[in-house]
Symmetry: none
Subunit: 459 residues, 2 copies
């Protein structure tokens, strides 16, 4: 029996939490069937949408599976012994201005709250002593705000002493690579993955092992064989495939790290923006912050121009960090940190995230509609529903060289799923990050014109 009551937490979240706990505590066993949505709805006198939302979240996190025509089941992969759970593209190209750039990792110009930001900046300036060097680790007040936000929003378990404010993702990786230098000389990286990781760790003389992706995330057997003690993953929203590592596999991964005294770098770059499900809780929180280094950023939701990211270190790595960094490098501009602190403290950040979720969902739907309208049956949508991109596959024979040439001529840029732009798996990303709502349809229409010209004549 689930207890659903009026509270600050929405009904579907209450249901989701209680079912999840039953699965974790073996009240519901692997493969056992969940009540149908209809039955749940009538038993608890709640709407079908409420049940659907709860199931959909459990599904997204991998707790349950959906079997066509027979309903929802607890995942067969669920590790029954949940002992470790505590109770609670970088295609290397010159940045060029295209008329229509389907890149995913950008934001359209109109989303940054300039007025509020300027207002807060002026306020911040008044309180700053510009004569002193800032604390490299980051301004304490900002770290406190972040710790509280991360706990609430991403189930990250940490205090401000574990947080380091960094100048963007590469800086985050640079710091981690130096902290772990004496711990490991190699790093395993999910493949395909975000190339910057490889670049930064290579620069620090790490050997790189590529671990291929299976349907449910990285190939753990290959990881075990590699003997690596350090792995980089994007568990909540794999880059670039968009997959989520389900909870059972998350636990396997954590167990691997605990058994091998290994570290997991969890890059949680855009989870807070998830719009079809509630954001999936972090890997870091499962492990009670011992073997996971958590990495986050303000680039995806607020602005890549202000250059602020952060990492959350396991407690035992904090002193190593201090030894290496505290007195030489010194960080992010204090005025930017203070402004960001006020932005979070005064509630603008939460509001902004909510706005971005709605906006991204809207843009996603507009993009999907435009693809259907203009590209019709010539493509199949392979992945949708998360992030700032839709993955499509050609259902016709495309002369890719010709397409590329035509697009370049018309100042349109698209992205392939492989690093080398070879496009040989017939799939491409259509990202909508840098378009505003009005531009999406026009951009897809312009793209479609060239697309149809590039279809191979099969006569």
């Amino acid at each position: 029996m689930y207890k659903l009551e009026k509270s600050d937490s929405p009904l579907y979240m209450q249901l989701y939490t209680q079912i999840k706990e039953d699965i974790i505590n073996n009240v519901l066993n692997a493969n056992s069937k969940l009540p149908s949505i209809r039955k749940m709805s009538s038993d608890y006198k709640i709407s079908k949408t409420t049940v659907e939302s709860a199931y959909s979240q459990l599904y997204a996190e991998g707790y349950i599976e959906s079997h066509p025509k027979s309903g929802y089941f607890v995942s067969k992969d669920i590790v029954q012994n949940f002992k470790s759970i505590p109770k609670k593209n970088s295609n290397k190209q010159i940045q060029k201005d295209y008329k229509y750039d389907f890149y995913q990792a950008r934001l359209s110009e109109d989303v940054f709250p300039k007025k509020i930001w300027s207002k807060l900046y002026n306020k911040a300036v008044c309180s700053i002593n510009f004569g002193l060097y800032p604390n490299k680790q980051g301004d304490l007040a900002l770290r406190k705000q972040l710790a509280s936000y991360l706990s609430k929003s991403r189930a990250v378990i940490c205090d401000e002493e574990q947080i380091v404010i960094c100048s963007g993702f590469a800086d985050s990786m640079f710091i981690i690579s130096n902290i772990l230098k004496n711990f490991s000389s190699s790093i395993a990286i999910e493949y395909p993955g975000y190339k910057v990781v490889q670049e930064v760790f290579s620069l620090q003389n790490y050997k790189i092992t590529n671990i291929p992706l299976l349907k449910n995330g990285i190939d753990l057997e290959k990881l075990k064989k590699s003997k690596d003690k350090l792995i980089y993953v994007t568990p909540s929203h794999q880059y670039p495939t968009g997959k989520t590592i389900p909870i059972s596999k998350r636990i396997e991964l954590i167990n691997w790290a605990c058994e091998n005294d290994a570290y997991i770098i969890e890059d949680d770059y855009d989870s807070e923006l998830s719009y079809n499900n509630r954001p999936i809780p972090s890997l870091q929180g499962i492990n009670n912050n011992q073997r996971v280094i958590y990495s986050g950023t303000f680039s995806k939701a607020l602005s890549p121009a202000i250059r602020v990211s952060y990492i959350v270190l396991p407690k035992k790595l904090v002193n190593i960090y201090k030894d290496i960094f505290l007195f030489s490098f010194s960080g992010v501009p204090l005025d930017i940190q203070k402004t960001l602190e006020l932005f979070i403290k005064e509630g603008y950040w939460d509001k902004h995230i909510r706005k971005m979720r709605t906006l991204n969902k809207k843009k996603h739907d507009l993009m999907k509609k435009a693809i259907k309208e203009y590209l019709k049956d010539s493509v199949q949508i392979i992945r949708e529903g998360s992030g700032l991109t839709i993955l499509i596959k050609a259902c016709v024979k495309i002369d890719w060289d010709k397409l590329y040439m035509l697009l370049e001529k018309n100042s349109i840029k698209i992205y392939s799923t492989t690093y080398d732009s070879s496009l040989n798996d017939n799939t491409i990303y259509l990202g909508f990050g840098c378009f505003n709502e009005n531009e999406i349809s026009i951009a897809v229409k312009s793209f479609s014109k060239q697309w149809f010209k590039a279809i191979k004549n099969t006569n």
Copy 2:
């Protein structure tokens, strides 16, 4: 850092709990030394009894051991499951607020032009697209302003393509160390010198050669013998001695670099602030930009809090830089860069530099006057007339341990000329960077009181 606050739990219990947690979490490792009771008591402004009680409880429970005459240590038996990272031994100290801090590399709060900066910031924000990643090398418009300023003010010969905007001095050195990684595995550094250089290059696995200083700058014979191909110098205002390399020796140094295909890193951190002479033209300009990497910063004249520095690369190194950095790391916040660009462009920077020169000269003279007035014949001024500090030598026998203890007790901080604070050459720096004009005399007076108490009785 421990957090001790008014609460139901007695202070000693709070301290005990937090230290215990650090030991359990391996923040404090087996055999590591705890701060002395005296230090703890003064650092946290709590009574010695409080510290003693906390230590005594930890001792009783076996967390720590007491070694006669050397202090308290974390028990060697503490189970350490984290084995692989060796501890670096450093005598680095936590940044602390002193009542009178004679540190030279800070600015007093009143020198930063907050109003103008805020105004320009608001103007800059309007022109920025916050949705895009900034150019790692730095905003082109700022680089153009800088190139023109450097040519005019420092006789640096360069165009904007050679300039890289960096996040402070250590970041500048980090970039240089990576560019030259394949060129050299060792670096010669003037000694004594700025320790951050050694730290950054060590982190990048460079071997360090210390080149001692002669009266007129580094010992060139020793440099030649070292076979190093890379040297770091501060030719216009040696840190920390304040010496200037005369032109004849500059030419010898350049000749050495040309003959050996070597590179010179010229750290020109505060030359524009010179107030007793016109600033000495850069080394870079003599060499027509072939063998010198020029490094500058906004930390000494404008603010260390905004984190902006820059390097000027010889043309042949620009492409290596691009290969390594252009696509992974991406730089300084665009809003700060744009504000700085406007600050230079609209003439505020030139005005600010002139103001700072006058102000620093005035402060210097006030400091000199105060030293004569309060310290009288007990000291001799060894170096004056440049930078933000005056170097003095004791003409009396000082009990340095006693002095240090007295100063600490009175929240006064002074700096020795050697890295290790041993003060054994009887000289100290009295920096006036962080004082405003009214504070200088009071600070020296307060210092002098303790100074005279620490004179050894020679009867």
